[in-house]
Symmetry: C2
Subunit: 261 residues, 2 copies
């Protein structure tokens, strides 16, 4: 189930788009175009050669020859318009919330490719912040010996505390988990500690930032506020590959080949 048109007329492209857009097909148009966007911001892209991709859920991407990011895009489309005007093929993608419009104007098209992709597999990712949370819950000693979890996602006026615990000496410990901590993480942690000090005025409170790494600047910023840093390695955080590898027998395993230190 695929269709390819090389050097089609704009009329052909229009008809192909009308037939396959808004239906579960991936439509690609490669050619010279300009793009306008208006919504939360506005953008203008003068004429150049690009690749337009309309996905099966009506997400729209306009990719230039370089960069990971698309030049313009629309995460989803509520309404398409396709028409020819002044010798240009105009494709308009609108979404209503937020109200945004992307308009692509093709002057010439090199190739149109229509296909249907079947992909029901989920992407499994490990190494997110939640994996650090879970690792701490499984084994609080990762942070420090004698730590006991009191509550997870404890609500305060300043927001949710990632992990709320008590240490060996009975002090309350406010733990903020971050994958990439910065100064804001420190401010946030400080605020949480303040909230807890108000809630438990008779208790001694500690604040700990737990992360795979922190810059010196962040660490010193922590120390300035009597907070501390606990480094955890992703190795102790990411579960063993056994579960991760399931149903992957025909694939190269993650292993020595990749971990070239």
């Amino acid at each position: 189930m695929e269709e390819i048109f090389t050097d089609p007329t704009l009329e052909t492209v229009r008809d192909v788009l009308k037939e396959y857009m808004s239906r579960p097909f991936v439509v690609q148009v490669s050619g010279g175009c300009s793009v306008n966007y208006q919504g939360r911001a506005k953008s203008k892209l003068d004429s150049g050669e690009r690749l337009l991709i309309v996905k099966q859920d009506n997400a729209v991407l306009i990719h230039g020859p370089e960069n990971y990011q698309p030049k313009n895009w629309q995460p989803q489309t509520d309404e398409f318009d396709v028409f020819i005007e002044s010798g240009q093929l105009v494709v308009v993608s609108r979404r209503f919330n937020p109200k945004e419009v992307v308009e692509v104007r093709f002057e010439d098209v090199e190739l149109v490719f229509v296909t249907r992709l079947v992909d029901d597999r989920d992407l499994v990712v490990r190494g997110h912040e939640v994996d650090i949370h879970e690792a701490i819950e499984r084994d609080p000693a990762i942070v420090e010996e004698g730590l006991k979890i009191v509550e997870r996602e404890k609500k305060t006026d300043a927001g949710f505390i990632d992990v709320f615990a008590s240490d060996e000496e009975g002090r309350l410990v406010v733990i903020e988990v971050k994958r990439n901590p910065n100064h804001n993480s420190v401010l946030q942690l400080g605020r949480y500690v303040k909230e807890i000090e108000e809630e438990f005025p008779s208790r001694e409170i500690r604040g700990v930032l737990v992360a795979p790494k922190a810059s010196e600047s962040v660490v010193s910023y922590l120390e300035d506020r009597d907070l501390s840093f606990c480094e955890v390695s992703m190795e102790e955080v990411i579960p063993s590959y056994e579960k991760f590898r399931q149903n992957q027998s025909n694939l190269v395993q993650f292993g020595p080949d990749y971990s070239a230190d």
Copy 2:
């Protein structure tokens, strides 16, 4: 300058990739594949139909049938490997900083498309945070009548203050500009105000968050700390379209057609 191969053998695909990858061509491969990633995190994607795009700067995208986002990616590649193993075409993209590897294993390929895209036009975007800064500098009355700019990007120990001003009554005004403010923006502003209070102990200090919008929660958080919120519309912030429209005579103008309120 383009090449299209439909239902090619994996050997053909390998040879095409070897010839055109790492050179300034956009190479697309559509077919059934699985993907592994390891780097800052790890991910695994079982077999399904996807579109692999290798851009002219060696950025790599693996797109599924849906979503704006690619399933896996590599913003840039320092080293490619292409080979056939166990009846699968393996494409490995490595980058060194951060050290990350994406491995795509094709079981079958539906289409390969090679092209060179020429696009030297820059995307012009209006409506970023800096545009709000500039609007305030042009016309401080956007924030409030009688406001006078004292300094922009004023340095403090807590970071840079976006706009530092004085109001009609001679009070100092610390202005924090945000496009999408959140609680952290409030904490940040509070911190700046504290710094300024230390620097000017004899003056009265106000803190104002300027943004196109703020959630109620953020506004009440501001008020709790004796800070205030000033809403600016993007219309008063984004410069008139005259400049924006330059060289766009052959394009439909942004205008009434788009601004369906």
